[in-house]
């Protein structure tokens, strides 16, 4: 059953994927000789993080959600499909990121090759966290009404980082503390991601079970 929903999203997003493939090829060519594809590697993870959100917009245009709940798909399965989609799409982004890393290494063998760069892993975590925050909001308000909130979710942390950087907050952090923090960040980050994912899913499920279509 979930496969049917995933197939529907893949077909509907076909144009978006073609664009992503074209961009992948373009940036690969652009990146040859530039030496640093980290931005582009991160870009793909971010792109695929957001693409799941656009499926809500497509669903609303065609009133698909109302219809699909009359089929054998339950509200629980509908919520599960959106979370699984976000996970699979972000993995797709990681795959594009890996391809870029391979291209970079092949064209410039001196650059170190890593399957997943720290940038793309950071983008993966950021992308998942973005979906975990935004999905319950979209389930509640719909994609149109959630746009401003989504912009805020993306914009506020960015603005905060810029302000903190400009005020040299990061430069004043004790380097020993920073080293320790970065050492434990993957473990801490994984726990935060898992807990926030579970909480987000439970909230989304609760919203969907109470919603009238």
């Amino acid at each position: 059953m979930l496969r049917g929903l995933f197939i529907k999203d893949l077909i509907v997003l076909k144009k978006s994927f073609i664009i992503a493939l074209a961009l992948l090829i373009f940036y690969s060519i652009l990146g040859i000789g530039s030496g640093d594809l980290s931005f582009f590697a991160t870009y793909f993870v971010v792109f695929f993080s957001i693409i799941n959100i656009s499926t809500f917009s497509f669903d609303e245009q065609s009133k698909w959600m109302s219809y699909v709940l009359t089929t054998s798909i339950t509200r629980t399965k509908l919520v599960q499909s959106k979370y699984l989609n976000s996970f699979f799409f972000i993995l797709g982004g990681m795959l594009c990121s890996t391809i870029l890393s391979v291209v970079q290494h092949l064209t410039n063998p001196e650059t170190p090759f890593t399957i997943f760069s720290s940038y793309s892993i950071g983008a993966l975590a950021g992308g998942l966290l973005f979906n975990f925050i935004v999905l319950p909001i979209i389930f509640k308000l719909g994609s149109e009404n959630s746009r401003m909130i989504m912009l805020a979710v993306l914009g506020i942390p960015t603005v905060l980082v810029i302000i903190l950087s400009k005020n040299n907050v990061f430069a004043n952090i004790d380097s020993a503390f920073l080293t320790q923090f970065l050492k434990y960040l993957p473990y801490l980050g994984s726990v935060v991601l898992i807990l926030s994912g579970i909480l987000s899913y439970m909230i989304s499920l609760n919203i969907m079970k109470k919603k009238d279509f």
Partner: protein, 288 residues
Amino acid sequence: MEYCLDINNLTKNYPNFTLNNVSIQIPKGTIMGFIGENGAGKTTTIKSILNMVNIDSGTIFFNGHDITNSATSKDREEIGVVLDECCFHDALRVKDINLIMKNIYKNWDSTIFHSYIDQFHIPTNKTVKQFSKGNKMKLNLAVALSHHPKLLILDEATSGLDPVIRSQILDVFLDFIQDEEHTILLSSHITTDLEKICDYITFIQDGQIVFSQTKDDVLERYGIVHCTNKEAGQFSPSFVINQLTNAFNTSILINDKHAFLRQYPSAMVEDVTLEQIMLFYSGGKQSC
């Protein structure tokens, strides 16, 4: 009698509307027409059956299973639904829809789906965006019929379709219930279609059921009396449902034309249509 759908005291409250103690029983192997004005509660009732809304009280049984607010996937497999608009994304083609629905329904039958696509002459080389309204509705119907449903629920599915397509679709409905194991609940404003094929009629008004009876009983019992405005006052109020009055004469909807004629043998009583019943219930002046 075995009921396919058994709804008892269904109540759903909205700020400006209440579906109030709706009870409908649809025997297996029959077609029930569901009529009412816009905003009367037809779609809310259908949404309640399909768990699209959470009802406040009441019970809904489908083939003996309690599906009130909680139909299982297995129950839903056996219900085919056609809503009043096409809910497939504009970019999809027939083959995409077949692929999607094959992976949603366990009982999906691609052979039957393609046979309906051929029968309805639905283009396979166009996207849904390029379909006419008629083709979109036929596509909805083809999908609803292609997973071996036991119950077909249609909400204004034939509105806006030309008579040729409607006639085709009505023939499909009659074929569907041939084996008496399949049932249809058909909500429609096109009362002539309902008169052609329905076994039962349920009339809802302002969130309440006015009547739910066999079509033959309804058309046999109700009648319209035409008389002068002066004569109208002479009839017993117990017969009168409602009346429509103009400057010269009065038309009265009566609830038992045979008993009425026994009491008033000289009265002119004519047969009634479902449309006229709806008009009288919704638009007439109350009798004194």
